[in-house]
Symmetry: D3
Subunit: 335 residues, 6 copies
């Protein structure tokens, strides 16, 4: 049976110079809409799942366009139209040894005006099976962290499966709290977590001794957050801004499964790679609930393909991802 998914988060306007130009060279910007949870929502809808996305946008053309984009994928946006502006991020593509660069201009956005008790979670979750959120939202303000908590309590009470991507961005946590003062209280409601061992202390407040393996760290996380059923992680071996290799792992409480490794030799756009993985593992665990290895391989193949796709959102289809999983790389033109 197809799971009905609810995601919650902000959607941003992304402005990027074309053709690898630098921000200071740009005479035009290519325009995309996306952000962590929105990217997950769109990818899941592209996979064919029914998805709702809860957000807020300003009452202007930018807000309207961000929702149109989501609708074009079949996502059903439930958007509060309030506040003054759509958050922006400027993105400069990197190349070779020049890193990509993000300049955020997202403060005072419409999304940041959301507060507890504005959203009727019971109604939203009534026909839903799965709730997904990420660490971006609670990083933005205490009010948004409280709103996350509110949603999580309702979702757990109503029996939804809950997934989270820790998505730790130190520069976003500016309201006086450390991530590990906020996140554990939220992560305790989750069934599925995407994170990396370097986030153990800073985000989850779980001490990590030097040299501890991923297996040990994730076992400790499960102790700290006993509702967790799966912890998954991506690993990127960065050559430079144009070429990477990547793999992933998943810990189900018993064993740590490792995926195949992919070499992405010519990156088109790496933004949203983690979100592509998140959507992939959600789809994978829904589709192959008893075959975590296949779920993991699906997720990492999805991530690999995302690197070849412009914009924040993974446009790879289920059949394209399965083709890559079954070994047919990009070497042959599909006619």
């Amino acid at each position: 049976m197809s799971k009905r998914i609810v995601t919650f988060g902000e959607i941003l306007l992304r402005l990027s110079p074309p053709s690898h130009l630098r921000l200071t060279q740009a005479t035009s910007f290519d325009l995309y809409y996306g952000c962590a949870e929105a990217n997950v929502a769109a990818s899941l809808a592209k996979f064919g799942l029914p998805v709702k996305f809860i957000t807020a946008v300003p009452p202007n053309e930018l807000g309207e366009s961000s929702l149109s984009m989501l609708r074009s994928f079949g996502v059903e946006p439930i958007a509060f139209t309030q506040g003054k502006r759509l958050g922006i991020y400027y993105f400069e593509q990197g190349a070779s040894e020049r890193p990509g660069k993000v300049v955020y201009d997202r403060e005072d956005s419409s999304f940041s005006t959301l507060r507890k008790e504005m959203i009727d979670w019971e109604t939203i979750f009534k026909d839903a099976d799965w709730f997904h959120w990420s660490g971006i939202t609670p990083s933005l303000s205490l009010e948004l962290a409280e709103l996350c908590k509110e949603a999580l309590v309702v979702a757990e009470n109503m029996g939804l499966t809950i997934s989270a991507d820790l998505n730790y961005r130190p520069t976003l946590w500016k309201y006086g709290k450390h991530a590990n003062e906020i996140m554990p209280n939220l992560v305790q409601h989750c069934d599925l977590l995407l994170g990396g061992i370097d986030e153990s202390e800073k985000v989850l407040g779980v001490k990590m001794n030097e040299g501890e393996t991923e297996e040990i760290v994730f076992a400790n996380w499960m102790k700290a957050f006993p509702k967790l059923k799966n912890i998954t992680s991506t690993h990127r071996m960065r050559a430079n801004a144009s070429s990477n290799s990547l793999n992933a792992s998943i810990w189900n409480g018993k064993e740590l499964l490792h995926s195949r490794e992919y070499n992405v030799s010519h990156i088109i756009d790496r933004i949203g790679a983690g979100d592509a993985f998140m959507a992939g593992i959600i789809y994978g665990l829904i589709t192959w609930p008893d075959d975590h290895q296949t779920a993991l391989e699906f997720a990492v193949a999805a991530t690999c393909l995302k690197h070849s796709i412009s914009g924040d959102i993974n446009l790879a289809t289920v059949s394209e991802i399965k083709a890559l999983m079954s070994g047919s790389g990009g070497g042959r033109v599909s006619r």
Copy 2:
């Protein structure tokens, strides 16, 4: 003798869809930098005058690019690098009966963090002859209005000629004061004013009886603000978003001079037309101090040409403007 000019104001990033697309259709934005006083500064520099522009920009690529643009014209920017963001406005070009549309996203900009006593006006004005400001700046916050006042007092004390464009935008005045509570206190320092009679009460607090001619209104303004030596105004007969005709007038306390009228049948970009006029009249009064008619004709011809030029800034040169003044319109290709 060439006058050295100082302007003071904000510079914004303008984002416009190409090719008359609507904002909701855009997959890219053309990128320009400009705003009232910056446009005046750049146009005056293009005319060959030495110009400084006082502003604040954020310490990022957008701030840097806005200054590079000004430098490319030969303007010397004196910019405080502080605050978080460059203000933005989205601009959708109109066509025929569809009006152009501006969506502002300029709050909390770097410029809005400027305060009294941050700027060493004495040093800035030391080698200057002329100070120009506009009603945009005091509309943004009480602090900026006070900063304007500070600058004006110093400029007057140091003997600079002072010009202002009333530039009344009702949607910008949001901090609890009406324009006419703030502007008279600033306009009293001015020698030259650009405004229209419909701004008499709302901006200057000068009562206007129905049916009063421009001559009478401007005479009343001079009574209210005895330092004023010239009041100038543009008049636009709007056919639609693609076609206008325009003329202008100037009142020097004795007579109201009227310019020739131009028909702009195919508008390329009308943003900045007022600023083009302002730069034109400043240049005109400096160049022909005893011939207000010629100064006025120069300014209105400059404005006419601005409508044919993309972006906020008038790129017309003195010789191109003079050619239009002397009757050679666009009918013949110049080889």
Copy 3:
């Protein structure tokens, strides 16, 4: 109460050279999706009405993209995924005395594979109040004409209001029937008709004597098709490919109402103007059922604005159209 609308028709890929280039100069094509009924659907959704669009598309990226476009407006497409190709039309924008040019390549499309008894009209019409179709569909093949008939019979039985745009394109009627052998049998089910008096004999088989006024002709149509409640028509005074004026009329059986006339001096894209009118009059009659004059003014103002918008679909909003109706043309930038 908001009426729920069902439209039925083909969606085409439109390929146009950018920047007024001719087809033979093109090194790229701008890409739009649209066609008569799809344009009506999208415009009505943009006005805020719930709209379904019944069609067929091929199982490839072009089919998928055409549906994504509709979804982005909030239209709910109900699309059969079958057949081999999405129909195409190449469109060269005209300018001044050079007419625009359409090159059709739409034969053997997925839509043309639809047949009677494939579509469950009862289910589709269950929650609907209004059915719209146009003369394009029955022009394509006898099978599609029969399918139209099938839909119309069900819609009438289920009590839906039915509207049609005659949309007579002589070059499309290639399967051996004249329009007037097919269309009367379909038009008899309609409540609202968009057509022009020059289509009287060729499309409806209603004789027209020379010099007969629109009033007389439309009265004759009502006699021939007694279910008709309103007949509406647009009138275009063509200056050339860049400049037109237009008005419209509506006959409600008693009086012929005339709209205000608009001059569109700088046409951006005239494709879809009739569809913009159709959507406007449907919205108008739903919104002001007792005020045909206002409904008509809304429709013709919508049409006027469409000429300023690239692509097949009218992106004008209800508030923009009302602003134009109330007299504020494009002369002033909206800030």
Copy 4:
């Protein structure tokens, strides 16, 4: 019978900013190839006539591309590959009251290295019926003027019809001779001349008294150059850079025929309008040798359409021009 035509002249690279940008704003240039005689050649080939074009280009990619462009129309270029560079002109489109602007950079081109006795005119003219040249070539250098003379003598001896466009550009005559010291010696070989009465003295050395009509002036030209059979002229009523009206006349020694007048309300590109006329009148006189009025109407309709076409070359076809002549302007989309 189809006439075989030979043209002789330079081909230049044209570089223009897109979208009405000024030269100083450009970050890219659109690229066209063309110049007077090449434009005539391409238009005649587009009309279906066999055309050869004699020229010289440098042995590099720019030279090669200019010939590829001609070949794409079916013109057979006979090109000397020598010299160092392809001449360039930068072209800024005008708009409304801002005139278009040409910046020449054509000195020391490959074409300027051509000399007498390099070209085997006898072979070239063997299968030809018509030779066309223009006043651009002899304006460039004395050597090129002598080369023109050489060609004209051979062409006349071999019985070809000879046409010329005076094409007087004062800024090009820089080698120490006035046009009227050179041109009469060349024009004496011509059967058909395109020129205007203001060129009478400066180019042809034929005195003109004030107030003399075109009829009188052209009659005087025929006296001065008795080989002339037809003199034709275009008249442009310049409104501004975006809108013109135009008509033409032809004098056949007996009567002065006048064409219909066209209003070009939205000019796309006016470069090459005269060359479009020249090609039109050559085609017209070949096709309707006994109906000068029709030939003239064809030529002026061709010119009208050229204004709607980007680039130097008229892409209008014979059937499009005839459609315009027969009254169907751009008002209706051709489907």
Copy 5:
């Protein structure tokens, strides 16, 4: 002596999203014309050989433009203007592990309306030395296969050298015949064949035992088709969609020669690589008839360069290919 070549086949319109966008992201398509035999024709013309191309195109702008493109290279198209449409293929560039993708929309094209006895092969082949065709044409319909046969019989009778590229595309063979029911009857007329050993049974009906080397397979082909003088093959080691290495071999009945191997690390466009090889080997065997190794090296170097060139057609010149053969790769900028 320069050989005069005739090619025969279809020309398609290719539509590709720019900048590695996916088909579903495209708001514009880059436009190229090409297909197997047309690509060979254009490349041979670029090498300086006289080439004719026999085809059919519709009587519209797309047909005209496809011929203009061929003419721009100096190819002489002999085109039947008939039928309704130019075939299309949509092409999405791949990147890294995402494969390129072709969506065909080529049925019912003008080319597919060609039939036996329409084409006067005797006249076409009168001044020709070489005839080239490929397996694309007989894959499209039985009628086209018969037309190929007709051409081959005439060409053989008139003593032309005949070459073929097997070009096996399983998805194109849809009319009820297997390739190996059709192709052997055509290949028997050939002197030069481009194919791979995996096509032995499926295309040529020649059994291949497991583990047989290319040498043995090609020897068997020569037995089956005794007119064959050379069999050549390309080998691609696919890393992914962005990076390949490639080499080639040729069997002349006595020995199997192997080329140098090239690594194409950054593929720009791989479409037409096989056609580039075909043109290269034809040119090579004409130029170095007694030096098959050099001919082969020329062909594989040509293929290598094609991967760096956008569009279907190899724009590499003879001197560029020779430079690569002699060892100067792309490492140094040529000034």
Copy 6:
């Protein structure tokens, strides 16, 4: 203390097809301004140093734009406005095994009209600390070589540090002198030299025996030119047009220091790499006068980053270069 730098040289217009198209495919050119010394000037200004650039440009829009570009970086151009044209070079980006290609069209430029005694070097050098020139200028004409000499004598007399880039381009030396007849007379004034050992005889006239190491060759150069304090060199290991590795060395008379080696796996634009190094080493030696290793590492890291930046000018900032030096390659997006 910040050193004030003067550079002297030509600025060219660069025209490049976008998106890796070949010159013969271009329908537009991207437009950049730059050339050796101008690139050094702009990069040094980007690093924050005060820089003047002495040149000549024509009195037209191209000349004006080249200066605007320099001003946008904060460079102060001192430009003679004379002569007829701005020199041009066409640049085709290479890819994989296809080399990049430069087509020069720079003869008869405004810069080439500069002569001895036109320039008031005393005034220019009055407030300067450093003078930089390159071997491009003396390669263009004997007059320019003499002008270089004039400048060098004044600069040395006034105590400026003098640097030169040998920049040997054999195709530029066309006026009858070999480089080694001219350059030694100029290099004798230099303190810092950028060159490679293969230029020893051809440019400096210093014999080099086979197998001599860089150390020995540079020691010989120091003997020949005793004013030299540092000789530096870049070494490029060319894989192909898309991928290189590079390192550099510096000889200070005592030891030869070697830099780290960088692999540039995905080159965006290699033009100006040497100029980026030159600017880097000037900045490095000014900033770390006693730490040649750090200066060298700065210069080579700057060069590495230039390969990722479109256009001739290195837009890398000091902090970006330092980040790369300290080990953070492009693998991680900077947020």
